[in-house]
Symmetry: C2
Subunit: 406 residues, 2 copies
């Protein structure tokens, strides 16, 4: 089985919007084991679209489109597909779709009439209900056997229609599932050299994300049981190769892992942030449930405020500089004295050079680390945040050693 | 003039990444007045790419590609374009590109050799320098006159190459410039009804962004002077219609506008953040220059910490609830007493309902506002942050009135 994706709309060609629909559909096709030949974006231009459809006709099993199903003369996807499939003769009003239009317009028949072309389909069409907008989709089959699956452009309508209506009409070559494992502290290369990635059933692939490196385990088979068996094997391999650096095998943010650990133990976290400027605390608070575990956070950016709020000594700053293990230690101790939180987190660093000290004080034990990070200011801060959250999680699990590589 | 865009890479067809390069290039083509026929995404498949290039050859002025310029046999864009242009005979090593490779690998000739195909071009090629990666781009011209502009796939490399190298080789049909004006406090509808958007030369279009509503003024003409004249007219109209809500007509973040105001007056800002959890302080600190103006920031999420750190009275919280003007006022006063900062900013609210109080205390005057915001937790926090930064800017400019609409 194979397919080609079209996204239709002049607004994409003008650069007004990014086409994200095609990615969504592409991912689904991968899941179903269907080969994707090409993605194309075409404006609201009937001739060009006709030519493009004609080129696919009989060569691919599925032509999958989004966009161009609106009520105006600019919207041409259905008309062009009908022409390619040669189904003009059998066009008729679909009563259910027309009633849905009337309902959508709260009973206003005049508005429904002005959208009426959206409710007309060839007799042989499979009509795809749109519960989120006015444009139903449809599946048309050409004489050469290509199925044209036409969906609306708004991403929420398209995605919902795909899941609830289209999926059941697509022949799946295989079942494919994947699982994401979030890794902590290790760099991409360090992670890759600890695990054998040259394997199948399942495949294991490394990616770099905003939350640091992840591994995606992907299994493919013709039945669900076999797919699940492969995923379990993949998880075992990852755990065996990368413990203790496996932060989570669930689809949750790392901050959530930290919050859960704190909540289980009925403990609290406080932060003293210099280079991160409140980013650590803001990203913890962004997770539901944070209110049970977050205590006080202090943003202490200048030297004066470090002295005043945390009691860092002026002499220490003078002797060792503000980005030093000594200042970091005094920040941690000062924070603990102020808050009594079981978990204290502190950062100090230079965003422009990427030299950063991060530290965690947990139940009386202090863990500090010097980082040398690449990237712009924003990226240095983000990576500092991730490294310190990773560190806090490993420390709480009792799996952190100060010589752990980063 | 007309063009077709290709993005090349199997990772896009697998849905692993969204293609954002094509949008960037499309926007540039609009600026240059060049018509875009189509965007296509093709995998690392030489036959399909050859066929697709052949279809464009002689029909469009520019074929613009990103991706497929890497060092591996999978990377086929240049090879295919050379074949379509029939330039195989005249391939030769470009010394400058090869030296750039050696430099990129810190003098390691072995690594440079393994990437050597990236430094080979037909004699007639215009070579496009890549200062950010190993893959130089190039422009090849076919016998039928189509120019193939080949760029690397990583968005930062592609964008930089487009701006610094490609732009000068493209014939522009017109000059088009636009200017973005950031608006504060007003909602999109409120903004739109205050200004006549139904006009040309220049056009003025409203957009919603992460920083709130913006207006984009776009002017098009055949000479720069006329374009600049139109832009000035647009700015005048926007200022006349929307003062005092115009936060900035420059391409800078709103936080930068606030920092500049503080720096001019030699004043400092402190924050006491409940619902925003450190987001305000983190986004101020993210701007270069913030260290001169940011003083202390306190994240006071729980009632206990509001009492302990800011001196909010337990009775006030009990009587009025923690999301109330009374508690906000005590947070502001407590913050001022702790910090003596000219500008004090505080927030308290419920992320799940969107009920939020924001407040600013500036030189002894207090400004508070109740917001009712839509969206998920993250969005409520982000919008709270924007509204309070808007408020602080207008207050400092002396243009805020407590009855200002939001």
């Amino acid at each position: 089985m194979n397919a080609q994706i079209f996204s239709i709309g002049t607004e994409i060609l003008l650069g007004n919007i990014v086409d994200t629909n095609s990615q969504f559909i592409a991912q689904k096709l991968v899941e179903y084991g269907i080969d994707l030949f090409k993605m194309e974006t075409i404006g609201d231009n009937a001739d060009r679209l006709y030519k493009a459809f004609k080129e696919c006709d009989g060569k691919v099993d599925y032509v999958i489109t989004s966009g161009g199903l609106g009520p105006t003369p600019d919207d041409i996807s259905k008309e062009v597909a009908i022409k390619v499939c040669d189904l003009q003769e059998e066009l008729k009003l679909d009563k259910k779709s027309y009633q849905a239009l009337i309902d959508y317009f709260n009973g206003n028949e005049e508005s429904a009439m002005s959208n009426i072309k959206q409710a007309k389909f060839p007799k042989s069409a499979i009509i795809l209900e749109n519960t989120l907008g006015t444009a139903p989709g449809c599946i048309l089959t050409s004489k050469k056997g290509t199925k044209y699956i036409l969906m609306p452009g708004p991403p929420n309508e398209m995605k919902h229609m795909f899941e609830s209506e289209v999926a059941k009409h697509i022949s799946k070559n295989a079942i494919l599932k994947s699982k994401t494992v979030k890794i902590g502290l290790l760099g991409e290369w360090d992670m890759a050299r600890r695990i054998d990635l040259d394997r199948t059933e399942p495949t294991i692939s490394p990616y770099i994300t905003d939350e640091g490196p992840i591994l995606r385990i992907t299994a493919k088979a013709d039945n669900e049981k076999e797919v699940d068996r492969q995923l379990d094997i993949g998880l075992e391999i990852v755990n065996a190769s990368l413990t203790p650096y496996v932060i989570t095998t669930q689809d949750v943010r790392k901050e959530k892992v930290l919050i859960d650990l704190l909540e289980e133990r009925n403990e609290k976290v406080s932060t003293a942030e210099s280079i991160t400027g409140g980013l650590i605390s803001a990203s913890i608070i962004d997770i539901p449930g944070a209110s049970n575990v977050i205590s006080e956070s202090y943003v202490t950016y200048s030297n004066e405020v470090k002295e005043k709020v945390l009691g860092v000594s002026r002499e220490t700053i003078k002797e060792y500089s503000v980005v030093s293990e000594e200042v970091l230690s005094e920040m941690l101790v000062g924070l603990y004295n102020k808050t009594n939180s079981s978990l204290c987190i502190a950062t100090t660093g230079y965003a422009h050079t990427g030299k950063v000290w991060i530290g965690v004080l947990y139940n009386g034990m202090k863990y500090t680390k010097l980082l040398q990070l690449n990237g712009d200011r924003n990226r240095v801060r983000l990576r500092t945040k991730i490294k310190v959250i990773d560190t806090a999680i490993l420390v709480m699990r009792g799996e952190y050693e100060n010589n752990i590589g980063i």
